[in-house]
Every structure is written in C-alpha cells, then in structure tokens.
C-alpha cells in the first residue's frame, strides 16, 4: 500500500512473494529492473533488508502480542458464540446450534437486512459525507483566521461534551417548540416533527452524529495541514495560483493520508455507534426507523440474553465493515501512488 515514491528500495530477496500475493498488484514493474541490477549491490541490499525485517518485527512485537491476546482470543470466543446459544452467565451453558443464528438473521421476515442494516449504512454514509466535508472546510478555513487557538478550542468542545448532553440539547432543538422549528416558522415554513416522523428521524440524527464527530476529524486534518511544507504554498503564490487552485491542487492531494484516515475511521464509527440514537429516540423509534445494527446487537446480548445471535450479527457487521474499508483503501490508492 505504501510504495513510497523514490525510496531507495532494492527488492533483492524473494521474501516478498508472500505479500505480493496479498493483492499488491500495483507493485510497479520498474522494480524488476532493479532486481536484475547485479549481485554485488544485491548482497548488501539483502543484508539490509534482513536487518529491516528484524527491526520492523521488533517494533511491532508489543502491538502484535497485544492483538494476539486481547483481539484474537476474544474473536475465537465470538465465533464460537455465534454458532451457539448462550444467555451470558455460565460458560458451561454454551450450547452449539450450528449455523442457526446466521440463518435466523437472513430468514424471510427478519428485520436484520432491512431496515436494520440499511439504516446502519445510511447512517454511516450520511455521517461520513457531512463530517468529512465540514471538517475539511473548517480545518482549512481556520488556517486563514486570527486567534486560531481560540477557534480550535471551540471545535474541541464536542469531543469533551458527553453524548447525553449532545443528544438532549439537539432533541430539544428538534421539538415542535424548539429552535429549529422556530427558524423554519420564521421563514414561513411549516413545522416538521423531526424525530417523530419516520421519514425524517434518521437524517435528523445523522446531522447530530456528523456534528459530534467534527471535532476529532478537525484535529486530525489540522495535524495533516500542518504537515504540508509551507514552501509549496509559497511557490504556488509566486506562480500566481488562485485560492481555489491551491486548495484543489496542493492542499487536497497532500492531505490524502489524513483524509483516508478520517474517512475509514468515521465510517467504522458510524457503522458501530448507537449511543446518540438511544439518547434521542430511546430504542430506535419511531417504529424501527432509527434502529441500527449496533443497537440491535447490544439489545440482543444484554437485554434479551441472546449472545449467539448478537455475536452472529457482530460477525456479519465485521465483514461489511471490512469490505467497505478495503474499497476505500482501493479508491484512495487508485488516485495516486500511496495513501
């Protein structure tokens, strides 16, 4: 993924074959020339590569060890549960049921595909689009302003504001007598029952979720903007490039690694979060208009004591998130060398 352009990289050994099979089809052919460039340089390069491999695994050891214990083991447990029936108390009570849980999720009349999964996707997609656009605009605009520290502090507030306060304030703003309808009425428009109407409930919460994720996205993008060398902007200014050109030709392309990060992590958050929904609509109402996958799983596990089907749903959601993430990595890579 990170075929860094111009790196002094001699691909001397065959040790990469394993990773090449894992979908780095974009490895440029130019490297083959380097590979054939003679065995004198090859021996030194070989030694160096060996050393880099050792160092890399040394640097990764703490993380890999942690993931082995706190991720891999729990996942095995989750897979086991997804094929069983378990009420969540005594480990001796786990009863294997085969693929029954999965079959039930996708059975005719099951609410899992629609509206639960479709709501989840809409929720995540809406959040990402709104939050990303807003964050890019604000992070970029802040660099134009005076008192940047003040503005950044204000935009940091959503991160420390509890979701209960966020949800409740917006809930009251959406009420018939609330601020939003007040504005609509002043413009001569009719009141909207934002959270009570099944058609508007989900989009209304999407706006709030996007707003709530703005803070961390801005933090990351600000760090990204700060990492762009100032000399590029000075050069562009000398060439007489307009503001818009500078933004689309310099800022956006160089921001790509942090944009990818925000995009991927916001999507994952959007697909997994439900705290705001419980604050604003209780259990996903009206009807199941705002019912999302994570809420559904949480209720199955902790409320109905059905850990089997909750784990099965979690694994399905995992596969969905994995596919969406891989598509994003692929999209961002196709536009250039790395992200």
């Amino acid at each position: 993924m990170a075929t860094t352009v111009g790196s002094a990289d001699e691909d001397g050994d065959g040790g990469r074959a394993g990773t090449d099979a894992l979908g780095r089809g974009d490895e440029d052919g130019g490297r083959a020339g380097v590979r054939a460039a003679g065995s004198r340089a090859g021996a030194a390069a070989h030694r160096r590569r060996r050393r880099q491999t050792v160092v890399a695994y040394l640097f990764l050891t703490p993380s890999l060890l942690f993931f082995a214990i706190f991720l891999f083991l729990p996942l095995l447990f989750a897979v086991l549960l997804s094929l069983s029936r378990w009420a969540g108390f005594d480990l001796a009570d786990i009863r294997p049921v085969g693929t029954e849980n999965f079959a039930a999720l996708f059975a005719r009349g099951s609410s899992f595909l629609t509206p639960v999964l479709s709501n989840t996707l809409l929720y995540a997609l809406g959040t990402v689009v709104l939050a990303l656009t807003g964050a890019v605009l604000v992070a970029h605009c802040i660099t134009n302003l005076r008192f940047q520290g003040l503005w950044r502090t204000l935009y940091f507030l959503p991160i420390v504001t509890t979701v209960v306060a966020v949800g409740n304030v917006w809930k009251y703003m959406y009420e018939p007598g609330g601020l939003v309808n007040g504005v609509l009425n002043a413009l001569g428009l009719r009141s909207v029952a934002f959270l009570q109407d099944p058609a508007t409930a989900l989009p209304s919460i999407v706006v709030v979720q996007a707003w709530a994720s703005l803070g961390s996205a801005i933090l990351v993008l600000t760090a990204g903007l700060k990492a762009i060398p100032r000399s590029y902007y000075e050069a562009a200014e000398l060439d007489g490039a307009g503001q818009f050109t500078v933004f689309t030709r310099i800022t956006l392309p160089l921001l790509r690694p942090s944009l990818l990060f925000v995009c991927v992590t916001q999507f994952i958050t959007g697909l997994q979060s439900f705290a705001l929904i419980t604050v604003m609509t209780g259990e996903g109402g009206p009807g199941d208009a705002t019912s999302v996958a994570a809420l559904e799983m949480y209720q199955r596990a902790f409320k109905y004591g059905d850990w089997g089907s909750a784990s099965a749903a979690a694994l399905v959601l995992f596969v969905l998130i994995l596919v969406i993430t891989l598509v994003q990595l692929w999209l961002f890579r196709r536009k250039g060398e790395d992200a």
């Binding site: 990170a2 790196s7 990773t19 302003l145 503005w151 996958a293």
Partner: protein, 290 residues
C-alpha cells in the same frame, strides 16, 4: 496561504457559525449544572437556570470519593496514553517506512482491529484478566485466584495498544521525506535512532492529536470501567462514579448534579488541550531537508 490581501470574511462566517453550534451543547451542559430541582427538561426549553445553584456541585462533591476516583482515572489515563503513543509510533514507523515480508497483511490486521463492535470484547477480556497466569493468586495455568481483575492493571490492560493509533501514526509517518531517513542511515544511525531523532520530532503535531484523542477516550471510558469496578469497587473511575449518582438522587435533581460531576471531570481535559495548543501553532519544519 498565509499572506492574504483581502479579509477572509467567508472563512470567518463559516467557522463562526459552526462554532456557535459547537458551543451550545457544551454551554447547555455547563448551565444545566447550575439548575435547580425539576428545572431540567421542561418545555419550552430554557438554557439559563432560574437561579445559579451551586448546591449541585456541593452534592457531587459530598457524594463522590473524589480522591479515589481522580487517582484511578489519572493513573489509568496516563498509562494508556503513554503506552498508546509509544506503541503506535513504533508500529506506525515500521508499517510506513520499513520493508519486510508480511507488512501489508499486518497493516490490514491493524485496520481490522477497529472493525469489531466493542461489546464483543467485554466478556472475553474479563475472562482473560481473571485467568491471567501467576497474578492475583493464580497458578501458572491461570486458576485459583482473581487474576488481574483486582489491580489497577485491569483498568488499563485492554487499552494499551490501539489499532486506531497505529493507523493514525502510519498515515503521517508516510509523509516524512525518505531523504531525511536515508541521510541519517548513511550517517550510521540505526533504525531506533532514526525513529527517535527524526520520525518522532517530525510527527509531533499528530502525536499531540493522538495523545489528546486517547486521553479523552480513556478519561471518559465507561462500560469497561463499570464492569471492572463491579468486581472491585476500589477501581471505580470518574465516569463510573458520576453515573452512580443516578441511583442516589431524586429524579428532579439527577441531571443537574450529574452535569456538575461531568463538568468537574471535563475540566482537566480542557486544561490539557489548552496546554498542548502550542504544538498546533507551528507545523513541522522541514529544516533538515535541502
């Protein structure tokens, strides 16, 4: 970008309007913490309290064992933040700049660590800590005692490494110019020196970002801390303590007192953010590069 002839009124308008919407819920949290009994949630909604009641703060102060809660929260948050920064930067460097077999697989694995709904992990994590070998009275096979669940380690163990953090650091270390790293290597620097002398200083703004985000999420972490402190009340953290206020109070006063508790727990985070602001003022300088 910086020397602009015209006044950037459009930027001010956009950022300003956004900021108003950003501040209101926080202000509401603050104002609610001063509201009297039965005042919260009444319609039509009023932001200002009828009288500024300080009694909510007094109540939260008296009800909570603040020294214990603060100690647990501070220790857990500091250890988690330190560990996440260190492991993320090292792993991020390896994934961004070193070439080795298995790199792409490990990178995808790191991404995959974020993709599981967190609730899947609670029970297995607890079981793992209970059966941690040779700790808390356990034998080598992890039987016989309470394992790590009785110590402060229980609060931090499941959060010591973050896939989110590794991904973030990797995304920024990718942009560190290879020429700088090569120059250091030619001068005889080993990879650890390259990481410490070049990568770490070059990625300060993003490290600050990661520190803040990790700090906030560790500081506010609720569900795991609740689970652990149910087993051992001495491990209660601030968010858990504040939630326990719910069961003590009459419903009319509940939300304001909880908001008072939350304000007390938010202040250290805001303070930290203000202290770390200076790292955003100047970006990375590419002075080492000719």
């Amino acid at each position: 970008m910086r020397r602009r002839r015209r006044f950037p009124w459009l930027s001010y308008l956009l950022v300003g309007v956004g900021a108003v919407v950003t501040v209101v819920p926080f202000l509401d949290m603050l104002l609610t913490s001063f509201k009297g009994a039965g005042e919260y949630g009444r319609l039509p909604y009023r932001f200002l309290p009828e009288a500024f009641e300080l009694s909510n703060y007094r109540e939260a102060f008296v009800r909570l064992d603040l020294p214990l809660l603060f100690r647990n929260s501070v220790v857990a948050t500091a250890v988690i933040t330190g560990s996440v920064l260190l492991t993320s930067s090292l792993a991020g460097y390896a994934l961004a700049k070193l070439r080795f077999p298995g790199r792409d697989l490990i990178f995808r694995l790191v991404l995959a660590t974020m993709m599981f709904p967190p609730f899947v992990f609670f029970i297995p994590h607890f079981l793992i800590l209970v059966h941690w070998p040779l700790a808390g009275g356990n034998g080598p096979l992890g039987d016989g005692g309470a394992g790590l669940t009785v110590s402060l380690a229980a609060l931090v163990m499941p959060f010591l490494v973050s896939g989110f953090g590794i991904f973030l650091m990797r995304q920024f270390i990718v942009s560190v110019p290879d020429e700088m790293l090569e120059a250091a290597r030619i001068d005889g620097a080993g990879e650890f020196t390259v990481w410490w002398r070049i990568v770490v200083p070059q990625t300060k703004p993003v490290a600050v970002t990661l520190a803040l985000l990790t700090f906030v999420s560790a500081w506010n972490e609720y569900i795991w801390a609740l689970l652990v402190s149910t087993a051992n009340p001495r491990l209660m953290t601030l968010p858990v303590g504040i939630q326990t206020l719910q069961s003590y109070l009459d419903p009319n006063r509940m939300v304001p007192v909880m908001m008072a508790g939350l304000m007390m727990s938010v202040l250290p985070v805001l303070l930290l953010f203000l202290l770390l602001q200076k790292y955003y003022i100047r970006g990375v300088m590419l002075s080492g590069l000719k």
